[in-house]
Amino acid sequence: MKNGLRGLSVAEVFERAQGGDRRAIGRLLSIAERGGPDGLALGELAHPQIGKAHVVGITGAPGAGKSTLTGRLAATLTASGRNVAVLAIDPSSPVTGGAILGDRIRMDVLNYGTGTFIRSMATRGQGGGLAVAVPAAIRVLDAVGFDIVIVETVGVGQIEVDIAGTADTTAIVVTPGWGDAVQANKAGLLELADVFVVNKADRPGATDSRRDLELMLDLSDTSQWRPEITLTIGTDDDVATNGVDNLIAELARHRTFLEGEGRLAERRRRRAQHELRVRAGDSLLSRLAKHLQSESGAAIVDAMATGQTTPSAALAALLDEL
């Protein structure tokens, strides 16, 4: 074991984490990510303490400036006295399982020494794993007392979109130029968005992008909530011009909106349903895989392979046995 946490139980590490020990928080996130019996114990400890944090998802195309903006947002929030954690998610290599997690480069400069907690997380393979690990990590950060948890993901695949959906408030980052907004629309990101950000507003075309987004919003149902489109310059350190304060105000406005009429509860209910569905799928799949290896499972496979039973009959038999 490493670094001063040697020999501590999960409960002891949890206690330290609640006291603000960064190393303990870091360790808890690994436990949450890995799962197993320790993950289960951690889930039990964290669960009664959750529900206070505002979970903000930030997503968009690669290169849109998400890390830069997230770093800036986190630093600005921290400076105003908020207790902020960032979860920066990057893809693992599907071939080797390795990953290069480079988000700290853009965030550290602003946040080192300020108290913002930054954790990089790799997707570690496709499927439900991430959709389970990310909510578990969010619960840990919530339970140990962060009041804002920012989850940054690349909005490309369905999984990333799902992850963004685990937030209370999801912000989509686009950049000036038509392509990006259209791309975002195609990827189904627009429906997901509670908050729109046009980053790189120092570039030409930012106001055109805003107008395009407004047009898209005009075509959607905004009777309950209409996002304001915020222009930001993530690379600008002047709060008077970088638009980050507007973004913070918009995030807060959405949080207030959610708190009205039980919307937050409804959103969390949907999230719970989603997470449960993913986990049920995972759990069933692994039981299925195991059963197919067993004698009776193999018999069903053989019967189907040799044409004795139809695939539908084989499926029915398999489900019966599970």
Binding site: G26, G98, I100, D108, V132, S283
Partner: protein, 143 residues
């Protein structure tokens, strides 16, 4: 129910996590990027801090990222001083994470670095396997 996992339903071994940084004030990160790619290709998770890092920044990253090892590259000629600074900082903070040093280290300094507590030294010609192997051994030895 047989499934007792709270996260990561695969049950795979967790990949090692390595914080990779360059200490000191010099300018380019080509070498560091090559190492990052080699480690990724070897199945490791690399938390890439890049250039001009301080020992304090490295330690903050190691804590928050719960890293298993630290890979440091540094200015030619600065190995002894910077390695000592890093090792001292790790000891002061009670961070028992192994330190691997990369770069051109003169023959005569290898032993000195080892005496300081550097877990492994990787020269410029190191292969992907060398790098991954060095991390695995260093983590195993510190366990």
């Amino acid at each position: 129910m047989s499934d007792a996992s709270d996260a990561g339903a695969t049950g795979d071994e967790k990949p090692f996590r390595v914080v990779l940084a360059k200490l000191g004030l010099d300018g380019h990160d080509r070498g560091l990027k090559v190492v990052a790619r080699m480690l990724r290709d070897g199945g490791l998770e690399v938390i890439y801090l890049g250039l001009r890092q301080t020992t304090e920044q490295v330690i903050a990253a190691v804590e928050q990222e719960d890293a298993d090892a630290i890979g440091i590259s540094m200015l030619n000629g600065g190995h002894l001083a910077l390695s000592k600074k890093m090792i001292d900082a790790l000891n002061d903070a009670d961070v028992g994470v192994p330190l691997i040093v990369g770069g051109i280290v003169p023959e005569g300094d290898v032993e000195k670095l080892q005496e300081l507590g550097v877990a492994a030294i990787l020269g410029p010609g190191s292969s992907s396997e060398d790098c991954v192997q060095a991390v695995r051994e260093a983590v195993a030895a510190s366990a």
